[in-house]
């Protein structure tokens, strides 16, 4: 049951759209910065497989410029 946090850097002007798409996922909490185009994403997946799938979805979002994995806990 991994818990992970990421920094998501959307492309310029795409932050709102990225937040909207992220907020559709379960087990995922998002925290946009107030003054920069960066979003903190915390995922709490039941299974490793779900976590991997979610990461693939993130990678396929063309509005995201860069994703940084910051921390990961296997619980």
């Amino acid at each position: 049951m991994p818990i992970k946090s990421y920094l998501i850097f959307p492309k310029e002007g795409e932050t709102v759209g990225v937040i909207e798409r992220l907020s559709r996922f379960d087990h995922c909490e998002i925290l946009p910065a107030d003054n920069r185009e960066v979003v903190v994403l915390v995922t709490d997946s039941d299974f490793e497989k779900d976590d991997e799938q979610f990461l693939e979805t993130l990678k396929s979002d063309t509005a995201i410029q860069h994703i940084s994995l910051i921390s990961a806990f296997r619980t």
């Binding site: 818990i3 992970k4 925290l31 910065a33 003054n35 915390v42 910051i70 806990f73 619980t75």
Partner: protein, 777 residues
């Protein structure tokens, strides 16, 4: 006592890990993006039910405002306080994780008494009885100067006030010192000798106005990361220039526009060379100097304090501009370059930056200049540059001495928890003693007129046996004292009695006879005072764990037991407010007036002097400072309102590398850990980031000795030796012939190697320079 560095929490483990994950990501974001804020953090992990309360950060002297998230009687989250002008919502990695330091598994929660060599849990009442009885017994047998108190720049203002009142007005001894002697004393004597009053003339708002930042031996990126992010922000917005003057390449060097290496102790020559250039190129602001400065010379060849009972008193003599100019002929760029290792071109470049009439210049410094056997001198010399150019006491023109601890200024310097100080003035001044005696309602004869021991000498007196009883609060001298073995052996001598108030076991509690568990930070009410004269109040947000008690109340309880209860006629409920009211009577004037208790409770810190509801951002200029007379500058701490420009020469360090000990050793901190690591090493994220100390080596030196990162390296000084892992070409990179070791790790006591020499004026020890051998272990 076995110690482990990890924490536990009783909240949901998953929620805790999610909070940790979020906090780590926020920390990473704030490192990458200066001033980024996440005000919605409370919505994470069901934290919308949190109650948020303001507090200054527990750790460094920057004084960042935090908002502490409270839930079910626990502190569970932290975010930067957007209303605090210090950090404007930003925190560093220590600040974001600060509340985790409350919940270490081995937190001291019960008083401990050593009986027959073993620790026994006792009640707080019994422990306080033992402390009071032992203190009384020692005074009866050996006199009042046989007992001592050693505190900290992490004492809250009420802690320090209660301690100094207890010792000076109760017992009647000046045997009180604090660890700020080890970090800020040279800054104080620098201010006092140049301006006659302590603490900076400017404030952090100078950062928003300055065009040039010159960092004198100050690794701000790691030691003052939030302020450094403000510098970087100004560089992005206004193309300000950051100059890093350093003895080793650090993260600050990598972020600076220009990094200039100087040889250890070479700063004395470099500063004089800049003055030489200012004068010889006609760049002096003559009008400012004529109207607002005088010139002085002091004693030279002043020694290093290596002998017990070393005495020194400087004797200023009058000088003038011509004499100062002649003095500087020994510091032409060519001559100075040979002493400091800085190229002639770079010396001239620095002088031009300071001189440029279109540039506002801010100098910043901290331990590199203060922990220096000529610490007072180099402080004076930086002021000399600003005074010669008239770049001072106006927005953006600011020589700014940074502090290391959250209340080194607020408590130690302003309350006066040093042997020679009172809350206002010094013990040697009869008027100051009378003023204190009047407020404390004691006969003036009660307050001794003669200072006793500064910190190094206090521990020497403990070793010699002149001090038999020492009460240590909120500090860890058995990690932080230089030439440590001598002072640990002294503390362990048979007829010494050591009381330690702390929140975790440390090497200092290891030498204790009684351990008092302290209420930590937001488990009690208090105030800190940061580097920029900002007083910051925090309320009691949590119940103390176990039998923990605030340091203030511990002192009051012992004082009552010893018959000094009339000095502390307050209740547990009102004593902080009453202490504040009494203490601020000492500063009741336009040069140091402080905000009321009620105002401090409302705001995220208030700068003093605080007059008619207005903060004083720049002292010594009539436009900004209500205490300044006339229509421009008035350095009213000195006679005639004139600041002193000092002729201070280059003199070598007390111990320089030679054939037997060919390397310089420098010590310091890392961003992840606070001081001796007793709190931050119990925060998993910080502990895992830097789990142990290491020795940084120059790449070429390491190659010559066939040393790689992780290899064991032995360091030997004339005082001790230590084996620790190598770090080559990693975070910091010393020049050839130098090594660096951080001091946060009690597992690698680097201060067993450092030298207990000190600045004869400030009595602050040298932690940045001594000579060692280096070999592969």
């Amino acid at each position: 006592m076995e110690r482990k560095a990890y924490i536990v929490t009783e909240q949901s483990r998953r929620n805790f890990l999610k909070q940790l994950a979020a906090t780590s990501a926020i920390s990473a974001a704030t490192t990458m993006l200066p001033n980024v804020t996440f005000a919605g953090v409370e919505k994470l992990s069901g934290n919308d039910k949190l109650t948020w309360k303001k507090s200054p950060c527990r750790f460094c002297g920057v004084g960042c405002g935090l908002l502490i998230g409270l839930q079910n009687g626990k502190a569970v989250a932290v975010k930067g306080d957007p209303d605090c002008p210090v950090n404007k919502g930003l925190c560093c990695v220590k600040g974001y994780h600060s509340v985790m330091a409350l919940y270490g598994k081995d937190r001291l929660r019960k008083p401990l008494l050593k009986r027959n060599g073993k620790w026994v849990e006792v009640t707080m009442t019994e422990a306080l009885d033992v402390v009071a009885n032992k203190m009384k017994e020692t005074i009866d047998k050996h006199g009042k100067d046989a007992v001592a108190m050693y505190g900290s720049g992490q004492w809250t203002i009420p802690d320090g006030y209660a301690a100094t009142k207890f010792m000076k007005a109760g017992i009647g001894t000046n045997n009180i010192e604090a660890n700020a002697r080890l970090c800020m004393a040279s800054a104080v004597t620098g201010f006092m000798t140049s301006f006659g009053l302590d603490e900076p003339m400017g404030c952090y708002e100078d950062i928003d106005h300055a065009d040039v930042f010159v960092l004198w031996g100050n690794n701000m990126a790691e030691m003052h990361p939030v302020l450094f992010s403000r510098l970087l922000d100004q560089r992005l917005k206004r193309k300000s220039i950051i100059i890093d003057l350093c003895t080793r390449t650090t993260r600050t060097s990598l972020s600076a526009d220009k990094s200039i290496l100087f040889t250890p102790q070479g700063d004395l020559a470099l500063a004089n060379a800049i003055c030489y250039e200012l004068i010889n190129n006609g760049w002096v602001n003559r009008r400012f100097v004529e109207q607002h400065c005088v010139f002085k010379r002091g004693k030279t060849n002043i020694g290093y304090g290596l002998e017990d009972k070393f005495q020194f008193a400087d004797e200023p003599t009058d000088s003038d501009f011509t004499d100062f100019k002649n003095f500087l002929t020994d510091y032409s760029p060519a001559k100075a370059s040979a002493l400091c290792g800085v190229s002639i071109k770079d010396i001239k470049y620095l002088a031009q930056l300071y001189a440029d009439p279109n540039k506002k210049v801010m100098s910043l410094w901290c331990m590199g200049t203060n922990q220096h056997t000529r610490g007072t001198w180099i402080n004076n010399q930086i002021y000399n540059i600003h005074l010669l150019t008239g770049k001072i006491s106006t927005p953006g023109n600011s020589p700014f001495s940074l502090t290391g601890q959250p209340s080194a200024c607020g408590t130690v310097r302003e309350v006066g928890t040093l042997t020679h100080l009172l809350p206002h003035g010094t013990v040697t001044n009869e008027k100051d003693r009378k003023f204190a005696a009047e407020i404390w309602n004691v006969p003036v004869e009660k307050i001794p007129a003669k200072p006793t021991f500064h910190t190094v000498e206090m521990f020497r007196a403990l070793d010699r046996g002149e001090i038999k009883f020492m009460w240590i609060q909120v500090t860890n001298p058995m990690v932080s004292m230089p030439n440590l073995k001598r002072y640990r052996n002294g503390a362990l001598k048979e007829d010494r009695f050591i009381v330690v108030s702390d929140v975790y076991p440390t090497p200092t509690t290891d030498v204790a006879d009684v351990i008092l568990p302290s209420a930590m930070w937001i488990e009690r009410e208090g105030m800190f005072g940061n580097s920029e004269r900002r007083t910051q109040h925090f309320e009691k947000m949590l119940e103390p764990q176990g039998e923990c008690m605030s340091d203030t109340w511990q002192i009051i309880e012992v004082a009552k037991r010893m018959g000094y209860g009339s000095l502390f006629p307050w209740t547990k409920g009102n004593h902080i407010e009453e202490i504040w009211k009494e203490y601020t009577r000492f500063h009741d004037g336009p040069d140091h007036a402080m905000a009321s208790y009620e105002e401090l409770k409302k705001k995220s810190g208030i700068l003093w002097p605080y007059v008619n509801g207005k903060e004083t951002k720049w002292r010594y200029h009539a436009k900004y400072d209500p205490a300044a007379k006339g229509d421009s500058f008035d350095f009213y701490g000195k006679p005639g309102g004139k600041a002193w420009i000092w002729a201070r020469p280059f003199e070598p360090a007390p111990e320089v590398p030679d054939n037997d000990y060919p390397y310089w050793l420098c010590t310091g901190r890392v961003v992840e850990h606070w001081h001796t690591g007793s709190m931050t090493r119990r925060i998993p994220v910080l502990h895992q980031a830097v789990p142990h100390a290491y020795v940084e080596l120059n790449v070429q030196d390491a190659a010559n000795m066939n040393i790689r990162t992780g290899d064991k390296v032995k360091l030997i000084s004339r005082r001790g030796e230590l084996v620790l892992p190598a770090s080559v070409n990693e975070r910091g990179q010393p020049p050839r012939g130098q090594v660096f070791v951080p001091f946060f790790d009690e597992g690698f006591l680097i201060n067993e190697l450092t030298i207990d020499a000190f600045c004869p004026i400030s009595r602050e020890p040298e932690y940045k320079k001594c000579a060692v051998k280096v070999m592969k272990a």
